[in-house]
Symmetry: C2
Subunit: 231 residues, 2 copies
């Protein structure tokens, strides 16, 4: 498959990039395709490449020594990920990147990105915007995990994921994630997720299926997220 450089303008960080820069990026980078469940990189690998996801979906996960993992972010088409390596030359990936479905991504050498940043203010600003967004989101999620009960956290997680990777399908927002994914993204377990989602389904808030969640009544979820009690 070939990438059309002009498509890279859909990448947030690159939306103001001149076409010459996009050509340069495509020319100097390679397209890496991986099958479902394979990894682009593992936690602890030297951060040699930054990636732009061209097709598919990828999740960034972090594991503790015992192997339990949390979902830090799900990447969709034309999002950049693993760009942090471009900042610190000796960095290692602090997370692993695993494909949720067959995916392909443009692997850009960290050093190329670093060199380009020297002379291209739009890149600096774009990356900084991206990073401040990450920081704020992680701070919020951290607070939620520390202070909110599971049900509310689950609602917050699902709403957040819906805005990030949900896609419309017949007027409703659908989330292509397993309950395992939701559990790892919300800091809970598949058992509690299943119980809660079933309960919500009974109340007509959502519709569940194997590996997907359809939002029937987003406003109801917002109410749960913001404090309405279940009974």
């Amino acid at each position: 498959m070939k990438i059309n450089p002009a498509d890279l303008n859909q990448v947030n960080v690159l939306k103001e990039a001149p076409i010459e820069d996009l050509n340069l990026l495509v020319e100097k980078s390679i397209l890496r395709s991986v099958e479902e469940d394979s990894f682009y990189f593992f936690q602890g690998d030297p951060a040699k490449y930054a990636y732009v996801l061209v097709t598919g979906r990828v999740k960034l996960v972090q594991s503790n020594p015992a192997g339990q993992q949390v979902n830090l972010r799900t990447i969709k088409q034309w999002e950049i990920f693993a760009a942090l390596g471009a900042i610190r030359p000796e960095a290692v990936y602090p997370v692993a990147a695993q494909a949720l479905e067959p995916s392909s991504a443009l692997a850009i050498e960290s050093s190329l990105l670093r060199d380009m940043m020297q002379t291209r203010p739009y890149l600096n600003f774009g990356l900084m915007q991206l990073m401040t967004g990450y920081i704020q989101e992680m701070q919020e999620r951290y607070r939620e995990l520390a202070t909110e009960k599971v049900e509310r956290r689950l609602a917050l997680t699902i709403l957040r994921l819906a805005s990030q990777i949900g896609h419309k399908s017949g007027g409703q927002i659908e989330l292509p994630l397993s309950q395992q994914d939701i559990a790892e993204a919300s800091g809970s377990t598949i058992y509690t997720v299943s119980r809660t989602l079933s309960e919500w389904e009974k109340r007509g808030l959502i519709e569940t299926g194997r590996g997907r969640i359809v939002m029937r009544n987003p406003h109801g979820l917002v109410e749960i997220a913001e404090g309405a009690e279940s009974a």
Copy 2:
């Protein structure tokens, strides 16, 4: 009080700044002093200033709608904080900044910082380094909160705080924080913190006092943090 511009070189982000820039910063900024427990700003305020802490200690906290709060970071002398506002002009502070003791900080207009970034690569790189560090730390803390039990999390929190704001005192590292602060930084409660610290004190790992913790055996804490069971 007056600030000696050359002192600003102790700020990580500014360590490569030429003296003219430091002069400019001091000249265009104002020194704000606040007493203990007062706030430099509140969560939700327009992010008009970035700060460099000159004396004292400041904590960055985030509250949920119910008022429960978490401790996201403790700032010590010559650290920069609230710099995110410089990236997005319309930003509001996502956290509040409260003085842990009488403090003074240089208030730098976000727009000044933003303008300076246009022509000073060292500033861009410095801020990016700072931000990547934040992101990685928050990701780790998030995973810890999601996957580790309290005792281990407490050990991790105390070790992290020791490296960030601990100071040597008689060959040992001392942490000038109340148990309330520890609870808010680790995502726990004062009751559990008290019980755990008492237990550790009995085992000779630490020494506690009103508003401070002295590490007697850091290695023992590392063992708890990394998985040794207590019994």
